[in-house]
Structures are given as structure tokens and as C-alpha cells.
Symmetry: C2
Amino acid sequence: MADEQPPVIEQTVGDEKGPSKNEIKKRAKEAEKAKKAAEKAAKQAELEAQKAAADVDYASELYGKAPLNQSQSRPRQTRVQIASLNPNLDGETVLLRARVQTSRAQGNKMVFLNLRQRTDSVQALLTVTPEKVSKQMVKWTASLQDESIVLVEGVVKKSPEIIKSASVGDVELHVSKIYLISGLESRLPFTVEDANRPETDVNAGEDVQYKRVLLDTRLNNRVIDLRTQTNQAVFKLQNAIGHFFRDFLDSQGFMEIHSPKLQGAATESGASVFKVNYFKGSAFLAQSPQLAKQMAIAADFERVYEIGPVFRAEDSNTHRHMTEFIGLDLEMTIEEHYHEVMELLDSLFIHMFRGLREKYSNEIEVVRKQFPADEFKWREGPEGTLKLTFKEAVDLLVEDGVAREDLDDIDTENEKRLGRLVKAKYDTDYFIIDKFPMALRPFYTMPDPEDPTLSNSYDFFMRGEEILSGAQRIHDSALLIEKMKSKGIEPESMSSYVDAFKMGCSPHGGGGIGLERVLMLFLKLNNIRRASLFPRDPKRLEP
Amino acid sequence: MADEQPPVIEQTVGDEKGPSKNEIKKRAKEAEKAKKAAEKAAKQAELEAQKAAADVDYASELYGKAPLNQSQSRPRQTRVQIASLNPNLDGETVLLRARVQTSRAQGNKMVFLNLRQRTDSVQALLTVTPEKVSKQMVKWTASLQDESIVLVEGVVKKSPEIIKSASVGDVELHVSKIYLISGLESRLPFTVEDANRPETDVNAGEDVQYKRVLLDTRLNNRVIDLRTQTNQAVFKLQNAIGHFFRDFLDSQGFMEIHSPKLQGAATESGASVFKVNYFKGSAFLAQSPQLAKQMAIAADFERVYEIGPVFRAEDSNTHRHMTEFIGLDLEMTIEEHYHEVMELLDSLFIHMFRGLREKYSNEIEVVRKQFPADEFKWREGPEGTLKLTFKEAVDLLVEDGVAREDLDDIDTENEKRLGRLVKAKYDTDYFIIDKFPMALRPFYTMPDPEDPTLSNSYDFFMRGEEILSGAQRIHDSALLIEKMKSKGIEPESMSSYVDAFKMGCSPHGGGGIGLERVLMLFLKLNNIRRASLFPRDPKRLEP
């Protein structure tokens, strides 16, 4: 010990006379003192040695940073999912890979972990146990950063009481081994817990005790933001909508197609098309698969759908516009009447809504915790979906006090107002408006047979926002050319499209659905960017 | 009748003397003659009137050009599919919409039609029948241009012998009504029959009696070309491959994602990226969903796939390159070893091959008529898919006489040679090459744990052409940055990608499949453009 000096025996050199009695007594006393000190030091050293022996880490093989996985070996050990853990496994040893969502040390002998896999989490704990869990192992585990990925072996134990902080709350995991698979090399911009807080909490004003994570911060660090249980659920639901779309259409004899996004000409409407440098010339990004899917009909494909990106070069910075989104598009031949298409689309939506409610209620529930919303309502049974004509919709708004002269078109604000009126009157969040004025629709829309100012076209609405636009199309090239000219489009500029109808084409119609809009409105996420994995808008191209 | 003059009674004027007996006799005779002539004329006139009456078209309501379908009415009549017709329906009246593939008049009393719906066809005929089918109706039907779309009502009749020119050959349709739904306003550039001829016939040299339709002509008039039975089958098979891909991955716990095609930076390799004018700046089209799907893994999505367009700005004008094609991409976490991914991908392909063989043999047969090919072969059972290391593949080629010094990489020519060698030796059209040299792979590829010149990467081959490329990826940001720098890529230029791995990321791997390549090689279509609905290459942006 550096701070315990060895006793110094005092000597008087050059003093030749013998020691006095007192002196002898004094010296004996000092010698006795020195002996005791030496004994004390020896005892201390022994204790130190014992302590050092105790510090040899008997658990050193049971934890630590794993070497970088380069597929060095393949022991084929079974790894489990947190969701599969339950009290019936009490006493069984399991192995799993998970994130450390949070860790909490209790003294230096115990640490609690919240382990997370996607939407599932479980509590794990380590307690110092001779020959098993060492103090060092506990200390190392407690030092793991949140969001580290670990490989954990542990024994499943029925938990004495439900653990509310975990989605699997009836068991806990008594950790026997823990290795770091991937750590963090940077500070988290925000915690996943904060990012998962109910929007109501963070909007609570001055009482807010949590850090609010702003949308832009989330999107700048989307990889972290996507790890929240809410977002894991949101994108499971996005996946589900696509599947319901496909399953329904497959059952109705549709075929999936893939049409090119690179176009030779700026189609439909030149203003909002992205231009691409194409070798020595230019190309344009398709605003929709409209032309291609109609050409597929002219090529006898009969019933087609496509799921793919559509691009809009509109400088709109709103809650519901993106420059790239996923279009769920379909087109089909008509035997007699365009209501065949409209009714099929209606059945498609009912199929999606039902599927979501029946098979994804857990995910909807998870999202609702962060984004509280009334349950999405639609009408079923004999009365069926509410269908209004454009004129009837206008009348409803006029009745409610909107000036008729402002209703040549129904703008976003009046759409929402209409949604509220319809909800109040018919108790539905989902309805159809049919028979739009021709002036509001694109050139390829089929006019009404009796009133040429109207068209055979419809929009579908969810919570007062448009989510689908569709119509019967003009399949006659002469009429098509006439309409193009009347809208100031040169037929020559779209000659392969026009030509497709010169070789015989069946009457047909279809529609295009915005995937992210359906998702946003079903869940009431309030901003379309939340419904897109990596959203793109006029100001965002990263990540 | 213009050529039958009315009889003129001869009169001698200015002869005052009375008629002689002879004269009287003569006159009486002439009167008699005139009377008979008049009677004959009257009878003739009556016949003419009768005949004129017969020319009044008793069938005029039963045929003709239908008014443009603007959804005027909805009688809700059942329409049938040609494929559903069979001898059990003998005597029943059916209604259907179909193309007139060809028509052939027999005299002026009968006309045969070949009616087509996609891959199905049936013979129809009209015969003049009093009160039912008129001569005019037959004449009008015979005048219909090939490829016109008609609505036909007719009686199904068991045909006395199998009609070889129709896919449904055991019945014919006796037409009672026929209306033109959509006619042609332009000459066909080629007939659908010519476009559907076996490639062997049109390649037969000087004996060729059919008009050969060149690929460029087909692609310039793709809407007509796509109507061939071959192409209808090709795109049903394209649709099927996508469905098998999805079904298999869904069953393995994968989730579908949609990643943005608009990128803020030219990623992966700047040279072959299309640049987009993005408001006041620039964007770039994604060459693959590589970065996004890896970021989805860093965001805990665990197992993801995407089906979407990928863009390559390579000025390659070969049989197997396009500037836009459909990528079937997947990425998944690894528990122990990247062979987990490789084996899953292998199972995916076996699932697709089996599905095609078991559920789409008719379509494969239809395509084979135009594009003769050996049946696609793969190995199943205990021996499983042939897996070679890159080194073993090189050895096979060296054994066959290729100089080893030319085999740092295996070029297209040697790939095909390898395909032939493997086919001869192992009787399979499908195999895997594993452990590619690191130098041949992109920066994000995980190096082999023992030999840093090798990598944990693989390619899959069909008929000697690469259809999938994949690997374990680097999930450690420090190693990733090191590899980027060694390949001359500035990590700062891809910061949101690099950052994703700084916040903890599970070991993972994946692969990307070219949909059109799989389709082309399975069917041996010889040119990738035939496997794309509206192909895009450096010289083609239309239709």
C-alpha cells in the first residue's frame, strides 16, 4: 500500500553511550508497534490476494463482443422469436437475437433489459450468481448502449406479475449468455421510446415531460424512426393493403403487368413531369401507368393491374402530396356499363377494409396508441356503399352553406367538409362520388351519353380525402383525337397511344389508388410521409 | 326490267278501208299475243316485286355497327368466355365479345369466322336462313376486318369433327346476332396470325412462304404483337413468376416494401445512373433497391422484398440488356451464415420452377410452338441444386480448354460455355456459383472470413446466363467505410446509407433477380425484349 509507510526505527548515530532504561522501554514499545503493523500489513496483503482471486471473471466466456459475423461458422442453433415466448416454456433455455431497447442496473449485482424484436418485447435480467453470472458480466451488460443488437441465451421464467413495459409480459428471461452482435458507433438522434410516444402526450403543451420528436427529425433519421412499434405496424399494414389489393384482383381474373416508367414524351400533362437525361436525348418519368394499362387493354389483356411508383413533379408541400408514391392501378374491359368497374372497385375496397379489420386488428391497435383515431367506418349489407353524384355532393355542400358558385369543382377544404357532412348524415368514412363534370377530368374520359358536360367518372373518398380517381375511357380513336385537340394536346405527341385505339379496342375503364393515402387515412396518420418508407417531396431526396 | 321492252301493237294509220277477214284474224291473233305478253309482263312484275320484297333485310336488327359504348344501358346479359364452351352446351344460346381473327366467305350464303379471346379461339359461322340470317347479314359479316371486336350471339353446336384451327375445336358457334363493337381505323401492320408463326418456319430460309415479322416491327406495333397467343401466354407466365416469388416469400415471413426510385445521389456506381431534373436541382434513378432494402434491415424489418423497376443507364445494345427492367429483390437478416440466404433463394427458384411446370404447362406449350426449346431442367431430391465455387467453375472451363489467365472473371461467352459444360455433365439448366473473388463484387459485399480475396457472394444461372446476384453484406460501418474508400467511393456521398449501420444492424444478405431474364431463359425467348411488355433500351422509348 503506497499510503502505509513501513515503521522507521529511530537510531542516534555518534552517541557512544549505551541506551537508558527509558530508552530501552521505548524501543521495545516501538518494536512491538512495528511487529503489529507488519502483521496488519501481511493480513491486508492476504485479503488483497483473496480479493484479486475473486476478481478473476468466471463468466468471461459467457458475454462480450462477438467477432464480426463473416459467416465463420454455422452451428445451426435454433433461435426463437420473442413473440413465441409464453409461460408454458417456463424453465426452458432459449436463444434469441434482439435489440436492447433500454437497460436499467440495480446496484452492481443486477441489470434489467428490455429486449425488442419489431413490435414485440420482453424483459430480461441478469443477477450475479456464483459460477454463472459474474459481477463483470452484469457491469458489461449494464454498459450496453440502447439499440445495441445482442445474442442472448436465457431461461424462460413465468413472471410473478405482468410486466407492463413489455409486449410479452407474462414471462421474463433469466440471461445466462449475452454477446454483442452489433453496437452503436454514433449517438442516437432520439430514443425509439420517445419516437413511439402517443402524439397526444407530445402535444399536451406545457405539461409535456417527454421530448417531442418532430417529423423532420424523424425523417432525417428514418432508420431509427422506423424501428418504433408504431412504424413496424404501419408498414405491416402497408404490406397488407398491397396483398389484399392483389388477392382480390387475382380472384377476379386480373393479371399483373409492369409498364415502363421511362417515357418518350411528356404525357397526360406536360407541366408536372420529371425530365430525365437519356443518353443523348431526353425521357420523362411516367405520371401514372394510365397509357400503358389502356394499351394493355387494346392488346387484349382484358383485366390488368399494376403496383408501382408514379412520379409527380408538382411543387406541392402539403400533408398529402409526394413527388413519388405507389400507385395501385387497374384497368378492365367493360361489357355493358362503366358501373361494372366502379362496383368492382367498391368491392375491392370493402375487401381491403374487412381484411384489415379482421386480420390486422393488433397492428391497428398498436398504431392507434400513437395516433388516436376513431375506428374507420364503412357501410355494408343491403344498403351498401354510399354513392352520390357530383351534383348531389354539391347540393349537400350548398345546403350546408357553401356558395354554389364556388362549387364548379370541390376543393380540398370542401372535400373535407363534405366528408364531415356525410359522416354526420350517413355514418360512413367511405363513399363514392360519380358523374364528375367533363371539364374536371382528363381528355381520355368518356363523356356521359346524354349530357356531354358530364362524364362517366368517379372518385372514391376516405375520411373526406380522395383516394381513388377513375372512369370509363374513350376507346374510339376519332373521339379521343377530338377530345385531345379540345384540351390543347397534339395527338401526334402521343401517337403510339392513339394508334393503339385504331386497331380495335374494347370498351374499358379503371382507376388508380394512392397506396400511401389509403394507409394514411385508414390510420389517420395526418401526414402522408408517415405512410411512406422513405418519402420524397420537393425538398426531400434523402435518406 | 330495262332489257325487256313492253310489246308494241303495230297500227297502220291512214288506211281507210275496213279490215279483211284475214286482217281481223291477224289482229285477233296479235291481240291475243299482246294480251299474253301483258300477262307475262304482269307476272314478271309480280315476281320482281316479290324479289324486291325478299331484298328487304329481315335480319337488319340482328347485325351491324353498335353505337359507341358510352354506358347508355345495362341490360345485364350474361357473356361467356370462349374457353368455357364445350359439347355439353350443345344447343344453348350464348353471348360473347371477341376479336375476329380471320373470316372466310363461302359463296354469298355462308361465312366462317375465327373468333379469338386471348389464347382461346372458336369457329363461328353464319348461313343464310329465312327470317334469321339474311344474305345482307352474311355479306356484312364477311366484310369485317380482321381484328375487329364483335359482340356475337349464337347457338353452340357440337362440331362433327375437331376444328384444328381453333383452340376450342369440339364445338362451333352458329351465329344469330353479330354487332361491331370496335372496328379498325387503320391498316394492320401485320396479321396476328403471321406474328404467331413458329420461329422455325420463318427462319426456314428460301422455302419460307409466310411473311416474317421482325422484332423491331413487332415492338413498334407492340399492341398488335401482344395479341398473339404466344404473347398472351408469355405475360401470363410473367405474372405467374411474380406471384410465385411473392407467395414463397410471404410464407417465409417476408414483408413487401416500396423504396423510392428518386435518389439524392448517384449511388453504387455513378457511371450508369440516369440523372433527373428535380425542381431546381438534380436527382438520380435508383439502379436497384440495394441501399433502401439494407436500410430496411437496419430498421429491423428482418425480411423484406420488393418488386419494382430498376434503371440502368448502360449503353448496351445486347439481347439481354434493357435500360429499365423489373427487379425481384430481397434482403434478410442472417442468424449464423450467409448460406441461409443462398439456400432460401434456391428454394425460391425451385418453388417457381415447380409452380410453372405444374400450373402453367398449357401456357408453356403455347409459347413452345413459336419458340421451340428443350424443357427447362433442374435437379431435385437429395442431390439438390448444383453448387460450384467460383474456383470449381473456373477449373471446369480450364479443363475444357479455356486459358486460366482469361478467367479472372467469367465473361458472357464463358458463362454460356460453362452452362453447356454443366448441362452435359450434370444434366441441369440451373446452378449456383458461390464464393466470387472480392475484386468482382461491389463494395458492400462481405469478405470471406479466411481468404480476404474471396467474398461471401453468389450468382445463380439459368441456361448459362446469370439471373441473380447476391451476397452477405457488410453490416459494420467501419469496415464498410474502409471498403468504400478502397473502391474510390467517398463515404460522405452516401452518408444516410453509411449512417444506417452506425446505429446497430444485424448481419444480413440478399439478392436481386431480373424478372424478364428468368422469363426469357425459362422459355428460351432469345431476346429480353420479348419478356417485357413495352421494352426500353438505349434506342427505344416508345411505345
